[in-house]
């Protein structure tokens, strides 16, 4: 059993859990992910690692409450135990001194992005961080980002906070040279940023989040096309070259079970949703 020692609300419906998982904590590295399972009828959910503390024996992950499983995760409180946390899975990020690194994160993926920001900074890089979201309320962890990075930009789709859209990034790249770019967030963000960096040949690493079940190479549902080749998100990734990734295919594959996911979520809401009344934390 994996006890939740800390639960934080990062933004509306976005929560961070720090859980006891000593074996995982010792081995976790930036870029890797966990498979989290809770309940006898629960599904296996892949979630990117946002932090780890080998001494405390804890590892943390963030999730956005969008479906039945993430909503019911949100009902758990500090002190509750999660049935299973498997990991660390996937390959760690390549972290070394590249020089100037541009780190772009969108909504819930800002949390794991900051783990990379920290790692890049510790490796001696000059780090520029971009926090993006649909709207102001989903811009999270701005203070942490400012502490960890040399410079922070904020952008929202609707312009309610910071820049409106990614136009500023196009302008920035006209005048400034970066040696590496990492993007974590919705597929559309990863696609757009990859397109922006491509003319400048900035190596751009994206963290793909296809549907997964086992997360260790068994099922193949996470297959993606990178450089024209079939790759498994779980064991070949989750990080890939953003300039060679087929994002359009990924979007279609992410949506293959959408009606079922909606049904599941609706039934959960109809049956009273979270019955514990603790979902306010």
């Amino acid at each position: 059993m994996y006890k939740i020692v800390n639960k934080t609300e990062l933004a509306p419906k976005i929560k961070l859990f720090e859980v006891e998982a000593p074996d995982v904590a010792v081995k976790a590295q930036p870029g890797q992910f966990l498979i989290v399972i809770h309940g006898k009828a629960g599904e296996r959910v892949p979630l990117t690692i946002c932090g780890y503390d080998a001494k405390k024996g804890t590892v943390s992950f963030a999730f956005h409450e969008v479906g039945k499983t993430t909503k019911s995760f949100g009902c758990l409180s500090e002190g509750d135990c999660i049935d299973n946390v498997t990991g660390p899975l996937g390959n760690p990020s390549e972290v070394k001194n590249f020089g100037k690194v541009l780190c772009v994160g969108g909504s819930v993926m800002i949390a794991p992005l900051l783990l990379q920001v920290k790692a890049f900074k510790e490796a001696g890089n000059q780090v520029t961080t971009v926090l993006g979201a649909r709207t102001e309320e989903f811009i999270m962890m701005e203070d942490e980002a400012k502490t960890l990075s040399d410079r922070v930009y904020v952008a929202t789709d609707d312009g309610t906070k910071g820049f409106k859209g990614l136009g500023f990034l196009r302008d920035l790249l006209k005048t400034e040279k970066f040696d590496r770019c990492v993007v974590m967030g919705p597929v559309i963000l990863m696609k757009d940023v990859s397109e922006i960096t491509k003319p400048y040949n900035i190596p751009t690493i994206v963290t793909l989040t296809p549907i997964m079940i086992d997360g260790m190479g068994m099922c193949g549902v996470c297959r993606v096309t990178v450089d024209g080749k079939m790759m498994f998100g779980c064991v070949d990734g989750p990080e890939f070259d953003g300039h060679k990734t087929n994002f359009d295919e990924l979007v279609l594959r992410q949506r293959t079970m959408l009606p079922e996911e909606r049904l599941s979520s609706l039934l959960w809401e109809m049956s009273g949703g979270c019955k514990c009344g603790r979902n306010k934390a």
């Binding site: 081995k27 498997t86 068994m218 064991v235 079922e260 599941s264």
Partner: protein, 469 residues
Amino acid sequence: MAETKPKPKLNKKAVEMAKQEPKVRAKNFSEVALGYTEEEAQEEANRCLQCPKPQCVTGCPVEVPIPAFIKCIKEKNYAEGIATIKSKNALPAVCGRVCPQEEQCQKKCVISKIGEPVSIGRLERYLADWELKHGSQMPPKTPPTGKKVAIVGAGPAGLTAAADLVKLGHGVTMFEALHVGGGVLMYGIPEFRLPKAIVQNEVNYVQKLGVDLRLGNLVGRIHTIPELMENGYEAVFIGSGAGLPQFIGCPGENLGGIYSANEFLIRVNLMKAFQFPEFDTPIRIGKHVVVIGGGNVAMDCARSSLRLGSEVCLLYRRSRDELPARQEEIENAEEEGIVCKFLAAPLEFYGDEKGWVKSMRCIAMELCEPDAKGRRSVKQIPGSEFTMDVDTVIIAIGQTPNPIIQRTTGGLQSDPRHGTICVDELGKTSLDGVYAGGDVATGAATVISAMGAGKRAAKAMHEYLSSKK
């Protein structure tokens, strides 16, 4: 004059085992084969001739003392019967259901020369099910040797090796990457062939023997094999199976609605998607399912699809005679209404505007002359292309070993072409104290051959540990 006993007349026909009617079972996930009644088991056991030199035992990869347990059935001494099996085989409820007995023990049965062999598998299942009802007895504990061994993977090979080693007094820790034990018995073989409650019962038995099972623990990521050895495990057995799905490599394979057999079976069996939305993992399946392949896994996918309410066509590139699946599974599938299309292979898949598969282009194949190994290859017939409307495709053309352990264990020799770990006949790898067996060493094969490998490796590991100071 001495009175001569009249010889009992041998019945050449085996006692049939009741099955659910095809029309009924095609609509449910309950077990197809229903097992013998006590009377049926008695009648079948009485067909056994109790040969002084039993050939059946030589056909069993784990050397179950077959005539001895059948004798126990005849004498209605069921507790001793099941203990007799369990002296060699920790998973009789599984083997009684999914072993290909017709190619192993029953093939060697002397009665098969004149009629149907004794139904050894059905009798084994009878005893295992008897034990399920009456509770299991534990064998006497062996004094601990003080040696620690690690088993990687809680599938058939690992469970067998773990049971044998713990019975010899070694401290056994079994690391399983998934959140439940059983390996392919849980994620691969469907409920209607092997109920999952039965698998869990067998896993529990191995735990009760004293094996420490660690779930959700992926060796290679949490601990590597060298780290396990540094942490005091004096020997390691790798039984990590063949979990990596193979794809065809034709255009359109990443469309929605195209599943690998592994994905489909993991969803349906392990995650119980057939009970969605009661269980959280969904499966989306259409009206027209095409399963590509001809092995037991393909049959399992086809029969599961049928039970989810679809019309199913099995597409196989060779002919009926070359189908690698068990005869019994082919018959079951056809009885239930699976349509087989032989000598055809896919070329390309086409999708709709939402990226979901809607049709596929195929080509007819013809068989070539057998090669040196007797295997007939196939070639495409030019100009024979045709299109089929489909909304779900399941690709069941084989699995290869997962490479995580090979990649994270320096000095562990593996076959670069098949990804299998190289072992000698005892299961010894290129590293001292490290053994492997089952699908990870042979490529995808049967449950019982994996169990046999687990057994041989356990014996070799015991000798290795005993010789070590």
